[in-house]
Structures are given as structure tokens and as C-alpha cells.
């Protein structure tokens, strides 16, 4: 079919040189700000995407429901919504149900039904189910085993410990996404939310009225789909609980990663390679309690020839991580921004095949595919540098800003500025 838009291109530059654009900004002092800055930054990287996906994650936006899990769900039909809501009411105490506020935007079409549910995990009974009287009404399928097993909560009768509640939510999200036709949970954390869809990132931001939310941590993504289809669920960020990932690149190890994650109760349903990254960081950092540096060493492991040259203890640690988590090595070019409550992490693949720029102004950490969008929202910077392959750049409410395990001095944080050791930079 003839593409009239291309035929009419007055610039004659039909060849599209693009790739995804990622952005992250975190106020490490916890100060919250609206979504207009990140929308502006994403608009500046317009040409990195092609209008087939845009999305955001925002942290600290639901303080009035801070203890509830907020499920953002997209539905392909009212039937799907009815089935999913039956499921939710069976498995959760639903505190609030409402449509996700949106506004009409020219570039955002074929919008699914978008609802959000603030839910609480009921006290667990034997077998990890509330009230053993009936199975899930939707789909009729048996629920997957809850990751980490449906053990009794450490708080004893009547209470649900945080890890158990988290596992319970993960299991229910997997269940909805794999058994309830036409329903996809795309956000499931507490006091945060993912907003995404098909369109240019800046249009998606306007569509979801992100200027009306205040967050201390924003991440954003403009998509240029390469190997997988463009659909609302396939836009970034990908998430589970409050763990989100925006990604530029591609994961040729997707099949191996997916098989590894299935052993731990994670089921891929979004038809996009990045989905495995969200589950991988949830497994590594939440369930297995690995520090950021170890997570980075798993996803972007040093080359064996570099491991061989490390001091004995370090060599042993890296060897162990590769032996245990070899299935989570992310092979292929990538730059990602990972976030969860209180922390943002930028990471490039080990040989720097996708760009990632880091910058600091006051107590704010910026991460982006390019420097220009950072300058647009923060013209004066205390520091700006290219992230090194495999070395995480971390913003944390608790620990300030770090590169690898080295603190980065920040003028806006009063928590003991430590002189950086000078390596590469």
C-alpha cells in the first residue's frame, strides 16, 4: 500500500534513524513536582520514537492511598472489565474504583478502557486465598502458585506481612494477565503508577493529564518498536508491584530470560522483550534482596576476561552471581532506567551499545538517552557524564546519588558529601 505521508515528505529523508528514548528524573530529597517537565523532555526526544508507544512511571502520586496497591488495568471490552472486577472483588478488598482520568489528544487513538483500583490484601487463610468458598470467577483457571510460596504471614493471624502481600499481588497480576481475556494489569504498586499507551510520548503524557500529578521520581519512554508489535500493553514502562523499567535496546536473550523467570512464577504476557527486565529486578532486588550493584552485575555481567583479572573475593562474587543467575544475563544492547519506591537506577549494557547520560543538579538526578532533554528542563547542571557500561547510576532517598558504589557529590543534599574517587571520568 502506498504510504502517502512518506510520498509527501518535503524533506526527502524517508530513512528513519531512530531508536527508543528514555528519561528519568528523581528528586532525592523527596520533593515532588508535576509531570510537565518530563513531558517537555520526552517531546525533545520526539525523533527517537515513532509514535508507536509512549509511557511514564510516577512515584509518590497517591499519598492519600499510600498503603493500598493501585492496579491500573486496561480492558479491551466491558466484558473484560466485568470479569476482571469480579476477580478483584473475590481476591481483594477494593477500597476505590475509578476511571483513570484522561483528556482527548489528537495523536492518541484506539484507546482501551482504562481503570484504576486501590486494593488491599485480605488476611490470608490456608492455601493463600481469602475465604476458601469459591474459586476465581473469571476464566475458571486455577491460580498460579504465588511466587515465594503462599506461606503464612510473619505478622501472625489476622495480618499480612509486606513480603507475603507483595507475593500475593504478583500472583494475582500474573493470573489476570494470563487468564482474564482482554484485561491487562499494567501497574500494581503502592503510591505510584504507570501510564502508557500507543502514541508519541508527549501526547501520552498529555492524554493521562500527568501535569496534574506530583511525583518525586518520574521515568519516561518513547518507543520505536523493532521486533515486536505496537499495542497499548507493549508500551513502556513495564512493571510489577512498584518495580518499573524503561528500556532502549533489545534483548536477544529474551527466551532464556523468560524460561528462567517462569521457574519463579513470572509469566510474560505483554509480547515485548522488556517485560523480562521488570520481573528480573523484582526477583533479584525484592525477593532475593540483592543490592543494586549485584543486580547490575547479573543483568550486565562483566566479561569473563575482566572477572578473571579481579581480586579473589570480587572474582568469587561475580562468578557466583553468573552461576546462579546466568539465566538473567541480558544479552544484547540496552540502556535502562529501573525504578521502585525511593530509588532510581540507570544501567547500560556492559559494552555501551546504547546511550545513557547522567546529570546532577542540586539533589536531583537525571538520566536520559541524550543530554539535550536534560538541559531543557535543567539548563544549569552541577555535573553531567556518560554512564559507563555495567556501572549503575543510582538515585536514592536514603543514600543520595551514587555511581557504582561511589557517592556522587550533590550540592542540594546535606548528607555528607564524599569526594568521588576518580576513575574513568
Amino acid at each position: 500500500m502506498k504510504d502517502l505521508e512518506r510520498a509527501a515528505n518535503p524533506f526527502g529523508d524517508d530513512k528513519i534513524l531512530a531508536n527508543c528514548g528514555i528519561f528519568g528524573m528523581m528528586n532525592c530529597d523527596g520533593r515532588r513536582s508535576g509531570g510537565q517537565d518530563i513531558i517537555k523532555a520526552m517531546a525533545n526526544m520526539h525523533d527517537r520514537g515513532n509514535g508507536l508507544g509512549g509511557g511514564y512511571a510516577a512515584y509518590g502520586i497517591y499519598p492519600e492511598h499510600a498503603e493500598d496497591y493501585c492496579l491500573h488495568i486496561m480492558f479491551e471490552s466491558e466484558d473484560a472489565r466485568r470479569h476482571a472486577e469480579e476477580f478483584l472483588h473475590h481476591w481483594f478488598q477494593v477500597a476505590l474504583t475509578e476511571p483513570i482520568p484522561t483528556r482527548r489528544v489528537a495523536g492518541v487513538l484506539q484507546v482501551p478502557l482504562l481503570w484504576r483500583y486501590f486494593v488491599r490484601v485480605p488476611s490470608l487463610e490456608a492455601g493463600g486465598r481469602p475465604g476458601a468458598d469459591a474459586g476465581p470467577s473469571a476464566g475458571g483457571a486455577q491460580p498460579h502458585e504465588a511466587p515465594g510460596a503462599a506461606g503464612t504471614g510473619s505478622e501472625g493471624a489476622g495480618g499480612v506481612s509486606r513480603p507475603d502481600a507483595d507475593d500475593y499481588v504478583v500472583a494475582r497480576v500474573m493470573e489476570i494477565n494470563t487468564t482474564v481475556d482482554g484485561a491487562f494489569v499494567f501497574s500494581s504498586g503502592r503510591n505510584m503508577g504507570v501510564f502508557k499507551g500507543v502514541g508519541h510520548a508527549e501526547d501520552i503524557g498529555e492524554f493521562y493529564r500527568l501535569d496534574e500529578y506530583d511525583a518525586y521520581l518520574w521515568t519516561g519512554h518513547s518507543r520505536f518498536p523493532t521486533n515486536t508489535q505496537a499495542w497499548w500493553g507493549g508500551a513502556h514502562p513495564f512493571s510489577i508491584l512498584d518495580w518499573t523499567v524503561v528500556h532502549n535496546g533489545e534483548l536477544s536473550s529474551y527466551g532464556a530470560n523468560r524460561a528462567f523467570l517462569e521457574m519463579y512464577g513470572y509469566y510474560c504476557s505483554m509480547h515485548t522483550d522488556t517485560e523480562v527486565l521488570a520481573y528480573a529486578v523484582d526477583l533479584l532486588m525484592r525477593r532475593h534482596q540483592l543490592p543494586v550493584q549485584a543486580m547490575a552485575a547479573v543483568l550486565a555481567a562483566p566479561l569473563w576476561q575482566d572477572i578473571d583479572r579481579m581480586p579473589p573475593q570480587e572474582r568469587q562474587n561475580h562468578t557466583l552471581l553468573r552461576q546462579v543467575y546466568g539465566g538473567l544475563l541480558m544479552n544484547g544492547p540496552f540502556a535502562i532506567v529501573v525504578a521502585h519506591g525511593g530509588e532510581m537506577v540507570g544501567l547500560r549494557d556492559r559494552i555501551g551499545l546504547r546511550p545513557l547520560v547522567a546529570a546532577v543538579r542540586g539533589s536531583t538526578l537525571y538520566l536520559a538517552s541524550e543530554e539535550a532533554p536534560i538541559r531543557l528542563v535543567a539548563p544549569e547542571l552541577d555535573a553531567v557524564w556518560q554512564a559507563r557500561g555495567g556501572v549503575p547510576v543510582v538515585g536514592s532517598l536514603e543514600r543520595g546519588i551514587l555511581e557504582g558504589s561511589q557517592p556522587v557529590p550533590t550540592s542540594g543534599l546535606d548528607r555528607g558529601q564524599v569526594a568521588r574517587a576518580v576513575g574513568m571520568h
Binding site: 526526544m45 575482566d306 555501551g352 547520560v357 541524550e370 539535550a372 538541559r375 553531567v384 574517587a421 574513568m424
Partner: protein, 291 residues
């Protein structure tokens, strides 16, 4: 966008464009029209990521860029001279043919990729895979001079041209941190000031001492570097001026107070090594038996 060309004034100054978030295609179309109309100097203010600046201007126009020019600055460039007060992004000088680019800051990945001619001077550091597959032909011989250091794969698959890496911001005694420098190079030459960790080099590259034939070119590059940027910043713990404080207004300023400023002779009066190809066809036998 506003344009003021000062037409008719007694001493014509540069034409000026305040760029902001103008789309790159409009900006480059405007630049082309100005150059076609005979404008010889253009100042771009407030640049935010516009791509391909200088690409289609086949004239010796002088562009001064304030802000952060976008990817592929000077890609395929043939003739212009660009000076950037700020940091450059990825792909600077991609397949550049002739002309000159000077960056008073850092530059990103793939600088000088497949470069065929002309000169690039960067005050600070550069990213991954810079000078990859540079080439030369007869009197076309590209030059890249980097004041700081480079990430991995610097000069990979080089087929020609000359590259100088000055290591001015490294801590004393530290080796350049980038791995796989010169991997698979089969032409051209890389001059490195400071220590090269041979275990981090890839295959196909040889390391040799400087000879009398090497010094005139290196000396000329260092003097030009010092002329352009005013100084060389001595490496000391905490000294990373090329990377930190690269806000556009500060990028071209002298070394941070307390840091030793090196003269060209002091820079030259320290150890250099030369990286060059082990063979003209390092991978000749990789996929097929030698005949």
C-alpha cells in the same frame, strides 16, 4: 526562532539564530538558505539536541554553537568549521569529509565514526567506539584529538587517519580505562599520552615507542589543543573538568582553581606510546584459510 543577519552594518557580525526547540529539519533548512545566500558566519544560541547540524552545508561557513547540539553533528560534513560551547552528543563527525569541529566540553559515542577527512578537537572525554573505522585516501587524512580519555573500542577497526588521546584528566599513574582500544585496526595510528594497559587491548593492535617521524604531528596537535582550549588541565584526584561543570557557560573556562595548568611543552614532555596495526589484514584467515 529569531534571525538577525545585521545586513548593511559597517562591520558585519555573525548571523544569529536563537534555536530553542525548533525541529532540526527547519533549522537545517534555514542554515542552508543562509549559506546559499552567502552568509559566512552563523551563531546558534540555545541549541537543544537538533541533529545533523552542518551536514548539508558545502561551504567554508563558520558555525558557533551554544548549548547541546544533537546527534550526528557534522555528519557527512564537507567544508564548514563548527565550534561548540557545551557538550556534543553521539555520532559527532560521522563520515565527515572535510572541515573542522571543536568541542569545548565532552562528546558522546561514535565520534569520528568512518571519518574520511578533516579535524575534530575535543577538550574533555569521549564515549564508546570513537574513531571506529576511520579511513584515509591519498591526501585525505582525518585527525581526532581528545584531551581526556575514551570509553571502550576507541579506534576499533581503524583503516586510516590519526588520533591523539591526551589523558589530561587521568589521575597520576592511572592507565586509560577504556578496553579494546584499536581492536582489529588495519590502518592509521593512535597516539596515547599516559599509560596503556596492554591486557585491555584487543587483537590486531601493536604498541610501539614514538619515533622522530611521529613527534612533529603530535607536537602540532598538542600546540593546537592548547591554543584552542587555553590550557591543559593536569590530572589530579578530583580533577575531571572535562566532565564535571560542563554547563555551557563553564565549558570553555580555564582549569578549576587549584588545578595545575600544563603548557604544551609540559604535555609533550611526558610518555606517549603509539598504537598501530599488527598487520594490514589482521583477520585475513578468520573465515577462510590463507591461500
Amino acid at each position: 526562532m529569531s534571525v538577525s543577519a545585521f545586513a548593511g552594518s559597517a562591520v558585519p557580525g555573525p548571523a544569529r539564530i536563537t534555536v530553542g526547540t525548533l525541529h532540526y529539519r527547519e533549522l537545517n533548512r534555514r542554515l542552508k538558505a543562509m549559506v546559499d545566500a552567502g552568509v559566512e558566519q552563523i551563531e546558534l544560541r540555545g541549541v537543544f539536541g537538533q541533529r545533523y547540524i552542518g551536514t548539508n552545508l558545502r561551504a567554508p561557513v563558520r558555525l558557533t554553537v551554544y548549548g547541546t547540539p544533537g546527534n550526528d553533528l557534522g555528519a557527512f560534513m564537507d567544508g564548514p568549521s563548527i565550534e561548540v560551547f557545551g557538550n556534543a552528543q553521539d555520532g559527532l563527525g560521522n563520515t565527515m569529509n572535510s572541515g573542522r569541529i571543536v568541542v569545548h566540553g565532552d562528546a558522546g559515542d561514535l565520534l569520528g565514526m568512518s571519518m574520511r577527512g578533516g579535524e575534530i578537537y575535543v577538550r574533555g572525554n569521549v564515549g564508546y567506539r570513537c574513531a571506529i573505522h576511520m579511513k584515509e585516501y591519498e591526501d585525505m587524512r582525518p585527525t581526532v584529538v581528545v584531551g581526556g580519555t575514551a570509553a571502550d573500542f576507541f579506534g576499533e577497526y581503524m583503516a586510516g587517519g590519526r588520533v591523539v588521546l591526551l589523558g589530561l584528566h587521568l589521575p597520576p599513574g592511572a592507565a586509560h580505562p577504556g578496553s579494546f582500544m584499536g581492536t582489529g585496526m588495519h590502518g592509521g595510528v593512535i597516539y596515547v599520552r599516559g599509560r596503556v594497559d596492554r591486557a585491555r587491548l584487543g587483537t590486531g593492535v601493536a604498541v610501539r615507542e614514538m619515533t622522530d617521524e611521529d613527534w612533529p604531528f603530535v607536537r602540532q596537535c598538542v600546540h593546537e589543543y592548547v591554543r584552542l582550549f587555553g590550557c591543559g588541565t593536569a590530572g589530579a584526584p578530583g580533577a575531571d573538568a572535562g566532565r564535571r561543570g560542563t554547563a555551557a557557560g563553564e565549558a570553555g573556562s580555564p582549569a578549576p582553581s587549584g588545578k595545575k595548568i600544563l603548557s604544551a611543552e609540559e604535555i609533550l614532555n611526558s610518555p606517549f606510546v603509539v598504537l598501530c596495526p599488527q598487520a594490514l589484514r589482521p583477520f585475513a584467515a578468520l573465515y577462510a584459510a590463507r591461500t
